[in-house]
């Protein structure tokens, strides 16, 4: 692939042909403000925040969509650009209710961050004249229509990443709104991943937690073998949701509906909490001492009377490597048999 040289804010940058100005700037360590741009999505160009000046061109261009070319001289920051960006942001903010105190997204809202960065404080909220429909096709995702800035990320994620196309923007200006096709939507939650505001929120957890109040712990998903990486969000020893990062793991920020919404079992009331011993056909609770003694004595008795091959163990594709290692070691070294398997075949 041939390389292209250009100048950004006085620095010379060399990048492969086909790179966008935004990507080239990032490579040079220059940050251009963005809002609708998302690393995994094609350029949407709805927010016009990433505008830059190109020497010899009259109008600024959207750097997320503009490809580099040899000898280009780019300016990413000027008074004119700042004024234009501020005006563009105010236009977006005009119809966005500043209900941040009750919004789940507060504290990790990309709109909030950029408004804060630009120091905008004098935009009176004007509700849209045409009331939008709040409904979404799935009860697991809540659509807060008033908060939606129509950036188009969710639409692009649904059509480009998932190739489902359940979302579209219908109508113009005051009438513009996101419309969901309930027959197509699978509730995968890819739209939740990309929404930069609190317009789409997870509507599952009974518990609320501000981003700065929850503990976040990186782990690997407990379902299929993809090995998706996400953070468990923990409040008061309870998992109340998950978050992902576009740069972490094979999933690149995505997770499926099981990964995203399938965490409730962790804190489910029906979890086993005490050892159980069956007596006369019914379980009773037992202490660990009693349960472990019973198991060890029974295993010893059966091994001594019938030999080690009279015992077998099933280890687990849902347990860790360390647990599987220890389990087969127990069956082989302590019981003395190779009768160990798991449900790889099922």
């Amino acid at each position: 692939m041939s390389m292209v040289r250009l100048t950004i804010d006085g620095s010379e940058v060399e990048v492969p042909e086909g790179t966008t100005i935004l990507q080239a700037a990032e490579k040079a360590g220059i940050r251009i403000p963005t809002l609708c741009y998302h690393k995994r999505l094609p350029p949407i160009e709805s927010c016009n925040m990433c505008i830059v000046e190109i020497e010899g061109e009259e109008e600024p261009v959207n750097s997320c969509a503009a490809p580099v070319s040899e000898g280009l001289v780019v300016t990413t920051n000027s008074k004119a650009l700042h004024e234009q960006r501020t005006a563009n942001l105010k236009k977006i903010l005009k119809h966005h209710p500043l209900d941040c105190p009750v919004c789940d997204k507060a504290g990790e809202c990309e709109l909030q961050d950029i408004v804060y960065e630009f120091g905008i404080e004098d935009v009176p909220y004007e509700p849209r004249k045409v009331k939008r429909d709040d409904s979404y096709s799935t009860t697991l995702i809540r659509y807060w229509a008033d908060r939606c800035i129509l950036c188009g990320r969710c639409v692009a994620a649904c059509s480009d990443l998932k190739q489902i196309g359940a979302l579209e923007i219908q109508g113009e200006d005051e009438h513009a709104r996101i419309v969901v096709d309930p027959d197509k939507c699978k509730s995968c939650g890819e739209c939740l991943m990309v929404c930069p505001t609190g317009a789409l929120t997870e509507n599952l957890s009974k518990y609320k937690g501000r981003p700065w109040l929850v503990k976040r712990v990186w782990t690997t998903c407990s379902y299929c073998g993809c090995g998706c990486q996400f953070q468990l969000n923990v409040l008061d020893n309870r998992v109340i949701g998950i978050t992902t990062d576009v740069d972490t793991g094979v999933n690149r920020g995505s997770v499926c509906d099981k990964g995203r919404f399938g965490y409730e079992y962790i804190g489910d009331e029906s979890r086993l909490k005490k050892p159980l011993i069956k007596e006369n056909g019914a379980f009773r609770e037992a202490s660990w001492e009693e349960a472990l003694d019973t198991v060890a004595e029974k295993f010893k008795a059966i091994r001594d009377e019938h030999g080690p091959d009279a015992i077998a163990g099933l280890t687990s594709a849902k347990c860790t490597n360390e647990e599987n290692f220890l389990f087969q070691k127990f069956i082989r070294a302590v019981i003395g048999t190779n009768n160990v398997d798991h449900c790889a075949r099922l």
């Binding site: 697991l140 190739q163 509730s187 503990k215 782990t219 690997t220 998903c221 407990s222 379902y223 073998g225 993809c226 090995g227 923990v234 998992v239 793991g249 094979v250 690149r252 995505s254 499926c256 919404f261 399938g262 409730e264 079992y265 962790i266 804190g267 029906s270 979890r271 086993l272 005490k274 159980l276 379980f283 472990l292 198991v295 004595e297 029974k298 019938h306 009279a310 015992i311 099933l314 687990s316 594709a317 347990c319 860790t320 490597n321 647990e323 599987n324 290692f325 220890l326 389990f327 070691k329 082989r332 070294a333 048999t337 190779n338 009768n339 160990v340 398997d341 798991h342 790889a344 075949r345």
Partner: protein, 528 residues
């Protein structure tokens, strides 16, 4: 997988056979979508069911269930006739080519079409699509393996890939997509009756001596142990008296449910260690409450053989404890003290005894996983297997003949039942059916039936049907959909209220001992 997931972006053709990827591996499906719709990669789908991938495919072969070997031999026959094989690769890296060549000779398009039901022109098109690509990647899952010829099916996929020089190459490979988060690791760690950790065979004297020395015991049996299905049979015959289950639910996941229950009832002692009182745990004499993945530290190995961290986020409920603690406590009471019981210390022991995991330490994978084999601490890991040469030296072709499924449809049981998963649920539903979230999306079992078949049976969309096999019978709702091939019915196995494995038979692949969940003969009628 021989190759990383991201390799599908670097290939020319993806051959997806026996994998409902959008349903079962949605994140891998994201990669397929990107490959097909952004990178111009061609997609060839081979599946009896009209799965969603078909909508994105350049070519779809809808073969009769269980005829994969015939189909793959047929593709190789055409590839050889048209000289599309990678002869230089075969000459340099392979053995057994002449045997393979003479075996596939009789699998002419005409003959293969008669077995598989795939029109001859589609066989030609598929063979050319795969054969002319360089590289091409094969993806498969249980649609290939859950057959009495599962081993043959896998070997046939490998034959095809090696014939075209696609193994040991970026963007190529033979790639099973694993269905559980640590099914790879459970195998790697020796959770199998024939091997110690790292696939070191129990039948090899030196291997047994190495482990005996490391673990301070006199020795181990030199004979291979029992597989899961054999264990339950041995329980029924009285040979096995006790079974210890950690985190599995065989009553719902194993074939022929009534048989499994009967086998468990024959045991003297049955212990289940789990996070819920599963259908299996209910039959136990002692139930031990365990911690779930969010409550412990450790590692799991994904389908790319990438070893990644699991980290403790919350405390386990009540008195539930980590599996490692429970195992160690039973062990200690039986007179053997496990020296290493914390996950990181156990990993040290794994490093010592498992050559492919030797260089994988907690410190190294703190910021991201490493794919095994990783023979030392400076090794970056091995994303692509068999580069330059095969693990065994020369690659080996297997000459394999087609064998029909064990139980085929007949006059009395005219439908073919295939079982599997739906996107919203996982395995036996013990995790995904708790809480409300996923149950809002998929609250109940639904059989997928072809509308034409439904019309003959006088069944409307949403009606209850009764499905009966030689083993038993279940009742559930129907969804009339073209996804199901004519003459086929698909039932998910997550649901205890309509357990699909009441219907399945327990005849297994002679080598892998995997059951034939994708082909059982059943009859279907509208439920009264």
């Amino acid at each position: 997988m021989t190759n990383p997931i991201g390799d599908v972006l670097k290939t020319e053709v993806i051959l997806a056979i026996g994998t409902d990827t959008t349903g079962n591996h949605p994140i891998i499906a994201n990669y397929i979508m990107e490959a097909v719709h952004q990178n111009g990669v061609k997609l060839l789908v081979i599946d009896p069911r009209r799965i969603e991938l078909v909508d994105h495919a350049d070519l779809w072969l809808q073969h009769n269930p269980g005829t994969d070997v015939a189909l793959l031999n047929g593709l190789m026959h055409i590839i050889l006739k048209e000289n599309l094989q990678d002869q230089a690769y075969i000459d340099e890296r392979m053995e057994g080519f002449e045997e393979l060549k003479s075996c596939v000779e009789k699998y002419t398009p005409e003959y293969v079409s008669s077995i598989t039901g795939v029109p001859e022109e589609k066989l030609y098109a598929a063979a050319r699509l795969y054969g002319e690509a360089d590289p091409a990647a094969i993806l498969y899952t249980m649609g290939i393996t859950q057959h009495t010829t599962g081993t043959d099916n896998v070997k046939s996929c490998a034959n095809l890939a090696m014939l075209c020089g696609n193994v040991g190459k970026v963007g190529g490979g033979v790639n099973p997509l694993r269905g559980q988060n640590n099914v790879q690791g459970a195998c790697d760690m020796g959770g199998l009756p024939n091997v110690f950790p790292g696939y070191q065979a129990v039948t090899v004297d030196d291997v047994r001596k190495k482990f005996a020395d490391a673990w301070g015991v006199e020795g181990f049996p030199s004979t291979v142990g029992l597989t899961i299905t054999e264990m339950f049979d041995a329980a029924e015959s009285g040979k096995v008296k006790a079974i210890y289950v950690m985190g599995e639910n065989p009553v719902l996941s194993d074939p022929d449910k009534h048989h499994i229950e009967h086998c468990i009832e024959s045991l003297d002692f049955f212990v289940v260690q789990d996070i819920f009182l599963t259908e299996t745990a209910k039959l136990a004499d002692v139930v031990l409450p365990a911690a779930c993945f969010a409550e412990k530290n450790g590692t799991v190995s994904n389908t790319e053989r990438r070893v990644q961290r699991v980290r403790k986020a919350v405390e386990p409920p009540g008195e539930a404890r980590e599996d490692t603690w429970i195992i160690s406590e039973i062990s200690r009471r039986m007179g053997y003290t496990m020296p290493a019981t914390t996950p990181e210390k156990i990993m040290d022991e794994i490093n010592l005894l498992t050559p492919s995991y030797k260089g994988i330490t907690y410190k190294r994978i703190e910021k991201g996983g490493i794919s095994w084999p990783c023979p030392d601490e400076d090794h970056p890991g091995t994303p692509v297997l068999h580069v330059g040469k095969f693990a065994r030296g020369k690659g080996l072709f297997f000459a394999i003949d087609y064998i029909p499924p064990a139980e085929e449809a007949d006059d009395e049981y005219p439908f073919v039942l295939s079982t599997g998963r739906v996107p919203q649920h996982f395995h036996t539903g013990t995790m995904t059916r708790r809480g409300t979230g996923l149950n809002r999306l998929c609250p109940e079992p639904i059989a997928q039936l072809n509308p034409e078949d439904a019309e003959k049976l006088n069944v409307s969309d949403g009606d209850f049907i009764e499905i009966t096999s030689r083993r038993g019978s279940i009742k559930l709702k129907t969804w009339l959909t073209e996804r199901s091939k004519l003459g086929m019915v698909f039932v998910p196995f997550h649901f205890h209220e309509a357990p699909a494995n009441t219907l399945t038979h327990a005849i297994v692949d002679p080598v892998a001992k995997i059951p034939e969940f994708k082909v059982s003969a059943v009859k279907v009628k509208k439920a009264s």
